[in-house]
Symmetry: C2
């Protein structure tokens, strides 16, 4: 090439980015035409792409055509209105615009000086959110605490676990690691177990407390107290409790007030993971689910789940930021600067695992400003209403049962097995899930609660409306009819078409 590459020419950016805008807007217009769950087979893409990168430039048109023909079929459409799997991952116009401007600046805001606006906007917007959630003042930046954007709840859980671990190791000595005990229910997200693995907590000291149908899968305070007593008797050191508001399997809510008291008495770090359901707590009528947050040392909610902020944007608040900083700070010569040395600023690199960080507060700020609190509350309420409608539909068909009472926008249900069914409907519901997902019409996921195979129907995609709920229910009814007709109910093997 004679002429040198101009990789960031403003007019090339303008021209090509306008094309990309139309491509993406067209994607959203046609999003219902794709199977929600990708139907490709493992390895499908290898045959469609060359073995090595090109030597010479290709055109944007060619790339966009490849995205249409080769990538989109391999995409599971999380933004489809017919997506009801896992928990949602909200995109929105505001969130998308925030991603654009963030990618436009493309700064790496590890410390204040690297872009003061990135740090300061994050501090301010996290304070805004804390107020919307009516969090205790200790979580605000004006005191000893504050909020920070992590990539994911996994990282939020990990950093507070590390802060707590190091606080206790400093007190009891490094070799006391083998005595440190973490408590959580068996409904707690797997991220907590992984955080323990990373932090080096002894696997036998990760206390997984049974939470079953008798408590609607919430952690039982007595079970916690008993476990702590046992561990203290054994000479161990209870140091960390993770409670959940809106568990992954069934949106169960652990009783924060009682758990908080137990943590306080035992001088433990009490972390509250409200990754999914935290968003609902901006509505006064749902705020009571985090009553008891006063005793928590840290609190997490994912704005990227059900709060219209594109992934990733996990919000963490902590009462004692110095604990995080003590655990996670480094300060090499090449990052020294006057603002940091005078302690007049926040350097978020010391609140997280990575050094580098994106300007993620922009998208959250834009969501809050372009929608406003009242719209956001309506958005949450509408999804909860739609989930209520779906629950009613399930209840109205005697072939099905709702497995746990619904709290937020998740409905856990199953097809009832015929009498004397061998595995209590496990394979039957597995087959129903496979059939529904293979149809491409909707995508749902599953869990197992007390041995029952349960279908999770999570409302929360930004485009979902009442008609999608009704259509989804019809897909379940139709597939159930086929399944029940095609078998005596005693042996529902997984069909060849099953993909999940």
């Amino acid at each position: 090439m004679e002429e040198s590459l101009k990789p960031m020419d403003a007019e090339q950016l303008r021209e090509n980015a306008h094309k990309m805008v139309d491509f993406i807007a067209d994607y959203y217009k046609s999003i219902e035409s794709f199977p929600v769950l990708s139907q490709v087979k493992p390895g499908y893409l290898r045959d469609l792409l060359p073995d090595s990168a090109p030597d010479h430039p290709e055109s944007l048109e060619d790339v966009l055509e490849d995205i249409r023909q080769k990538i989109v079929p391999g995409v599971t459409h999380w933004q489809s209105p017919n997506y009801f799997a896992y928990y949602p991952s909200n995109s929105s116009v505001a969130g998308f615009l925030g991603e654009m401007i963030s990618a436009g600046f493309n700064i790496v805001g590890f410390n204040w000086i690297a872009s003061p606006a990135a740090t300061e906007l994050e501090v301010i917007v996290l304070d805004w959110l804390a107020k919307m959630l009516n969090l205790p003042n200790q979580f605000l930046s004006s005191g000893q605490g504050g909020g920070v954007i992590q990539g994911t709840a996994s990282e939020a859980n990990l950093v507070v676990l590390l802060a707590a671990r190091d606080k206790f190791l400093n007190r009891f000595g490094k070799r006391s690691l083998e005595k440190l005990v973490v408590y959580a229910s068996d409904q707690t997200h797997a991220a907590m177990k992984k955080a323990c693995q990373i932090a080096g907590i002894y696997p036998e000291n990760f206390r997984v407390l049974n939470a079953d149908h008798t408590s609607n899968y919430a952690l039982v305070p007595e079970a916690l107290s008993d476990a702590i007593s046992n561990d203290l008797s054994a000479g161990l050191i209870p140091f960390f409790l993770c409670a959940t508001v809106g568990t992954t399997s069934s949106a169960a809510v652990d009783p924060l007030s009682e758990l908080g008291k137990i943590s306080k008495v035992n001088d433990m770090w009490f972390h509250v993971d409200a990754a999914y359901a935290g968003s609902a707590c901006i509505c006064p009528e749902y705020r009571h689910y985090i009553d008891g947050i006063e005793e928590a040392a840290s609190f997490n909610m994912n704005a990227h789940k059900w709060f219209l902020t594109n992934f990733d944007c996990s919000l963490l608040w902590i009462k004692d930021r110095s604990a995080l900083i003590q655990s996670l700070s480094t300060y090499p010569e090449y990052l020294k600067n006057k603002a940091s040395q005078e302690n007049s600023v926040v350097d978020f690199k010391d609140w997280q695992i990575p050094l580098g960080r994106r300007f993620r507060s922009l998208k959250l700020w834009m969501v809050l400003r372009l929608y406003g609190l009242e719209n956001l509350q309506s958005y949450i309420r509408n999804h909860i209403k739609l989930a209520g409608q779906f629950e009613q539909l399930v209840c109205s068909d005697s072939r099905f049962e709702v497995v746990v009472p619904r709290t937020f926008s998740l409905v856990c249900f199953r097809l009832l097995p015929p009498p004397n069914h061998q595995d209590n409907g496990y394979k039957l519901n597995h087959s129903l899930l496979d059939a529904v997902n293979s149809s491409g019409k909707i995508f749902v996921s599953h869990t197992v609660l007390s041995g029952k195979y349960v279908i999770r129907f999570a409302v929360g995609a930004p485009l979902t409306e009442e008609e999608h709920i009704k259509q989804a229910w019809k897909v379940f009814q139709d597939q159930a009819t086929i399944l029940l007709a095609g078998s005596d109910g005693s042996d529902f093997g997984a069909s060849n078409g099953d993909i999940i």
Copy 2:
């Protein structure tokens, strides 16, 4: 609000995103008009924004005006052609378009089924890059290894350290943690120390080996051998070595071949961190800097630094992927699916700290396709050439010295102190840095090498051309003239205006 919110309406997205494209293109057109390093004071933004989120929606125009008036002054412009600080963080048209489409799909690709294309494109594109770098075949996905996109080099370093730690703990028992020793030079990035803190490596077992001017700040193999011998004699377990290709302070290159041999003899995990300089190794004439990579267990390079891929996009290759998976996998019921259970797919959640992950391979794929290998090589060569020109300018002015021989696109230099200067020019160069950065014309950073305060001039921003190099040098010369005239050189106090 009567009508319900339509947060993801395709036409609203189209209309508003077109506006944002123009806003961003205009930003790039005017980027040279802003001070490169933000000149705001700590806390500046608090007074400019309200104390809480709005109840009602605001307009995009208002938000964009606020970005212009309130945010941009607090941005340090990493994409400015006059940005020479730290190492670069490249944006490009292709990278930006990749960010757009990734944010458009907004999938959370924790496992294969969550969007097969996200996983498969990542596997394929990392293979492409491995071939461009001529990495040993064991790093390709076809064998036992493979590549994965991490957020940052900090995370890349951490996950391989965890994999190594757990491998050794499995062999020697959990309580042997206190015996595990990590080796690196004192020029190694602070991320390694932080990774050790997180992984629970005993601080006294993080062996920081002196690397000074006698080896151009490269790790000396004999120093490593000696340290290992001592540790073995003391009953400790040497298990991890991190070597760097292109250190943060001075772009030093550790001698991989010799270090690799020592690692092999001692059965240690050998990690090579080429976060910055790895990009240069796509040019045949620079490939020799990673000769010896054959003995490495893992290798990292940041596509988001000097490879036109918007932040974040850190590439990690590993020879034995099962080591990562063993350390980082979780498999709760709610994520079980046929493809994962049949082991027919890659689930990248088990290769990283977080569960969720963005569709980052799209932007890397677009960079490779829209530019092609030859352009990317030219891009790297051009920056190295420009750095060479700057080095020549420094050498041509007898008031300055180049402190270490230049290898890639980083020039380390300083203003020579007058004879019998008290602190060997420390304050003098600190003052020069402050003066230059306060001018707003360019942004550079510093380090300290063997007690000398050194200015780091890192070429690598996508818009930087020859004229910017010349102008930058003039800024240094002018400020040096002022500084040297205004003082006898014995006491250069930090001025009030110093900001870094």
